[in-house]
């Protein structure tokens, strides 16, 4: 049987999700047996091909060049999957979407006029059709391998879409929100990280983004009851998935 071709591509990102592929460690070789890893700049020196069966895309769209790139990747891929918060939700760099770009440029670069970027950082799904998305900042290596195996055998990947709270309970981790009064995004956030922060006694800050149809306002009210300022409550969501939380919240209003 001919192995399916995978291409791994990068837009604006920290490379952490691509690293999740390398963090499969020895399983990386199993992956290379099952699939033909045909494009992967970070670990492979090979030029792009015309066609891929599966394209994994890391990173958000922040420049004109990336806008063209993602269309090209879509054209070349039978199945396109975003990996991580940047590609799926715009990433932490989407914080610029709520700010003044010129100001931002000036704050970082001595010659801001040399820097040419889009005023926003947007998820891949705003530019092309995507077949599947994996959330997380970073994605979980196990979820990635589950997805790739599932695609191989032909089934829907077993990635939970329920709340992080459920993972807390499944793992027997005491609730930081209820027992400590610490703000935690768990109730409106997708499971996927394994409830890491609560397991360290800290509230979730939303690596895996809002779960579908999350009731964000209700949680924000709860934070206000806990004497958190409205501004701080919003800042809690304005992190790696800021764009997705804000959008979910808007959708909820309508």
């Amino acid at each position: 049987m001919k192995r399916q071709r995978i291409g791994i591509f990068k837009l604006a990102s920290c490379d952490g999700c691509q690293l999740a592929v390398l963090n499969l460690n020895e399983e990386l070789f199993d992956l290379a047996e099952l699939y033909d890893i045909a494009y992967f700049r970070e670990a492979l020196n090979r030029s792009p091909l015309k066609q891929y069966d599966i394209a994994l895309v890391e990173g958000s769209v922040t420049t004109e060049r990336q806008k063209k790139e993602i269309i090209e990747i879509r054209e070349r891929a039978r199945f396109l999957m975003t990996i991580g918060a940047c590609a799926t939700a715009g990433g932490i760099q989407a914080l610029r979407n709520w700010a003044n770009l010129a100001e931002f440029k000036r704050q970082v670069y001595p010659s801001p006029e040399l820097i040419s970027v889009l005023p926003t950082s947007t998820p891949v799904s705003e530019h092309v059709y995507i077949d599947y998305e994996l959330w997380g900042c970073p994605v979980d290596a196990e979820a990635l391998s589950e997805t790739l195996v599932s695609l191989m055998v032909g089934r829907r990947p077993g990635i939970p879409i329920y709340s992080l709270c459920m993972d807390c309970k499944i793992k027997g981790i005491p609730c930081v929100l209820v027992s400590q009064g610490d703000p935690c995004l768990g109730p409106v956030t997708r499971a996927g990280c394994g409830a890491l922060c609560p397991s360290f006694g800290r509230g979730c800050f939303g690596c895996f983004g809002p779960k579908e149809g999350a009731n964000i306002d209700a949680l924000m009210h709860r934070f206000e009851d806990l004497k958190m300022a409205r501004k701080d409550a919003v800042l809690l969501m304005d992190k790696m998935n800021t764009y997705a939380y804000r959008r979910t919240r808007l959708e909820q209003d309508h």
Binding site: V149, C165, I170, P174, V178, K211, G213
Partner: protein, 369 residues
């Protein structure tokens, strides 16, 4: 059955005696909450008192000699008897078919120390679900079979307890091997089984008299008085069935996070999902041979896809999912198993991040608008 008086230090002897044959599971402090975990006498958070409210739990150390000064945390028997994630079997698939292998049951049986009356009631509900159906759940049966239960009658009910209204507490009537009532500086221990009596035999103890039993009654009566929460159970399925379109459901949906915490902490919620787990390791590139396991994990009717089928979702809205949960607990369950699925432990109220209170919501439903 045998009843004796012991001093508090003898509890340690009970722990040690049980540890010979059981894994002892008892209350323990983790990150400022009481959890159920493998533990010893020293781990008991003696002298800690909890303050609970809707969506809130705080633990505080008090100046007291009491041992069982706290009420239970989020865990219950469920955590051990129907664990959050179990491997039902492993399989090895080849071109010719597949072979299934059921894992051996794990080693030592479990002894639970510090279970409360409501927990025992919940246990008997779980038994109905897993053992009285068309297929006995073998995993549950195996884990359940040889357990030992030391229950404790509550002295400090939490602000969210309403076992009295549900007729499940505050004191245990049956279903334990030993039952402890803490009375000032001594413990009244009652055996509920032959196994329990055997343990009592090894303890230095004093037989009790009528006066001691009176003391127990006083303790229980005092506890009853401290229980402030209640639930009106009369006309229970009816009141809910008649109000399935009550505007209150929509109001709850506005507040509900559908995070699933209530179902996870409820000692009787049993919903789960099974799925197959494969890994890159175990799949060969010809796709004919692979191995994996079927895993079953807790799931919840609050999960978005819980009622999803080809062509749609039977409960797409938050309103429907909350309504389903509460209706199951307080109405469906009665039809299914003959009693409500709620034992009044109050966990769902405490551990709901926004403090939705099932007793309060039932009251609201009773209000005609």
């Amino acid at each position: 059955m045998k009843r004796v008086k012991i001093i508090k230090e003898d509890l340690k002897t009970i722990f040690e005696a049980l540890a010979q044959r059981y894994r002892t599971i008892g209350p323990k402090l983790v990150h400022g909450t009481v959890v159920m975990a493998e533990s010893s006498f020293e781990d008991i958070p003696a002298g800690y008192e909890d303050r609970q409210g809707p969506g809130s739990y705080r633990l505080e150390k008090k100046e007291t000699e009491e041992i069982f000064s706290f009420s239970p945390g989020a865990d219950s028997f469920k955590k051990y008897l129907c664990p959050s994630s179990v491997t039902s079997f492993s399989f090895q698939k080849s071109a010719k078919g597949f072979v299934v292998d059921v894992p051996e049951r794990e080693g030592m049986p479990l002894a639970f120390i510090g279970s409360r009356a409501c927990d025992l009631a919940a246990l008997s509900l779980l038994d109905q679900v897993f053992l009285d159906g068309p297929v006995r759940d073998q995993g549950y049966e195996g884990r359940r079979k040889s357990i030992f239960i030391v229950s404790v009658n509550c002295n400090h009910p939490s602000e969210n307890c309403f076992c009295d209204a549900m007729g499940t507490g505050p004191y245990a009537k049956e279903g334990f091997d030993l039952c402890i009532t803490e009375i000032r500086n001594w413990l009244l221990v009652e055996a509920g089984s032959v196994e329990g009596e055997k343990v009592l035999e090894i303890l230095p103890h004093r037989e009790i008299d009528a006066g001691d039993l009176d003391e127990k009654r006083i303790v229980i009566a005092r506890c009853r008085e401290m229980i402030k929460k209640s639930m009106k159970t009369e006309d229970l399925p009816g009141v809910i069935y008649r109000n399935l379109e009550h505007p209150r459901w929509t109001e709850i949906a506005g507040k509900d996070l559908e995070c699933g915490n209530c179902t996870m902490v409820c000692p009787t919620c049993f919903c789960n999902s099974s799925y197959d787990v494969l890994s890159l390791r175990t799949v060969s590139s010809n796709l004919r041979d692979f191995s994996g396991v079927r895993r079953r994990t807790w799931d919840s009717c609050f999960s978005k896809n819980f009622a999803r089928v080809h062509g749609g979702n039977f409960r797409p809205s938050r309103r429907a999912r909350y309504r389903h949960w509460m209706t199951h607990k307080l109405a469906y369950w009665i039809e299914q198993f003959g009693s409500p699925g709620c034992v009044g432990c109050g966990r769902c109220i405490t551990w709901c991040p926004v403090g939705i209170d099932i007793t309060h919501e039932l009251e609201e439903l009773r209000r005609v608008r």
